[in-house]
Amino acid sequence: MPLYREQGVVLRTYKLGETDRIIHLLTPGRGKVRAVAKGVRRPGSRFGGRLEPFSHVDLQLYTGRSLDIVSQAELITPFDRVRADFALSACGSTMVEGADRIAQPDERSTELFLLLLDGLRALVTAPEHPSLVLDAYLIRLASAAGYHPALAACASCGRPGHHAVFGISAGGLLCPACAPSGSQPLELAVVELLGGLAGDPWAGLPARLAACPDPHRVRRQAGALVSSYLTYHLGRPLKAWEAVPR
């Protein structure tokens, strides 16, 4: 059986038999990899706690017929803080579920992989704003999947500007001429926060939010738009999103 080496982030795991698990991983070189970790549920397994969801690992795998087999796993970053806190864990679960939905087997996925690592790092460094980090991740995930929202120009005619109507199916903000009549305009602060979620450096997100008038309400509105946008373009909602405390 051919052996190969890849980095990966553990997306999710399923119990298999008495002591094994099937591990779904996002790797930069081979996209989504599904592999069996034998004996991992036994206390004292040589994999120990390395193959828990969110772990960033360096792996050696054997190519199998339907599933690959993990032969060695070294931790690069455990992201165990994400697992230890309910709010972070709910946000992290939504992140990996989104990546799991979009990634394909045997397809280079460097952009998705780096985005997921950035998102997990941001969760750990700004644990007081988990849902803000999540919304930024989700809007960037939509872009990585080919549904980049138009936020600086009209999604329909291209006229530049921070327009006030968000057209979910149109793919972004719509100018007054293109917006369907009767559309509810967004507050400027929501439009600006959407722009920040899509393009600001991760570390700048909390400050961007703090500068908003009534940050809690603005964040909820922006978050709801991000979720509707992603649900529309992915076809169905992410299950873990419901569990995120907001």
Binding site: E18, G44, R83
Partner: protein, 197 residues
Amino acid sequence: MYEGPIQDLIEEFGRLPGVGPKSAQRLAFHVLTMDAADAERLARALVAVKEKVRFCVRCFNVSEQDECRICRDARRDPSLLCVVEEPRDLMAIEKTGEFRGRYHVLGGAISPIDGVGPDQLRVAELFARLGEEDITEVVLATNPNSEGEATASYLARTLKAMEVAVSRIASGLPVGGDLEYADEVTLGRAFAGRRAL
């Protein structure tokens, strides 16, 4: 594809957790070669478990009566409550002989990605017990994996507001193992949970 009763049996076995199509076939053909009396005993045990065993109304452990053996036992310490995911975990802790309190079985763990939240578990029943019983300490003994940790974190937050002592079972190095082979997460936890001697 077989036909008739043998195929039915293969399909039934195949529905069980951890049984793949190959094992389901092997089990079904094993039953075929069993003595009639053995097969009947197996069938009776299956029916009896559904007829006679139910969940304890208080702790949701498996029980033959309204309340399970542990909840009825007056020698158990009523001030200590241990929260576990499944009845199997309760049995594993019972075997240690280390715990003399009572239990609460959640029926699973919080898993946002599977759509399992507190409402799908016996969490409301747990909080209700704290109001009704004289419980002073809750030990969270959910699994040390991502779902178990998320569950413990969720419960701890609410329980602390209810003015009850909350503890988490220690996780660390397996007894009999070598330190050098431990992974960083496990070893890190062992250090965080170190105790004075």
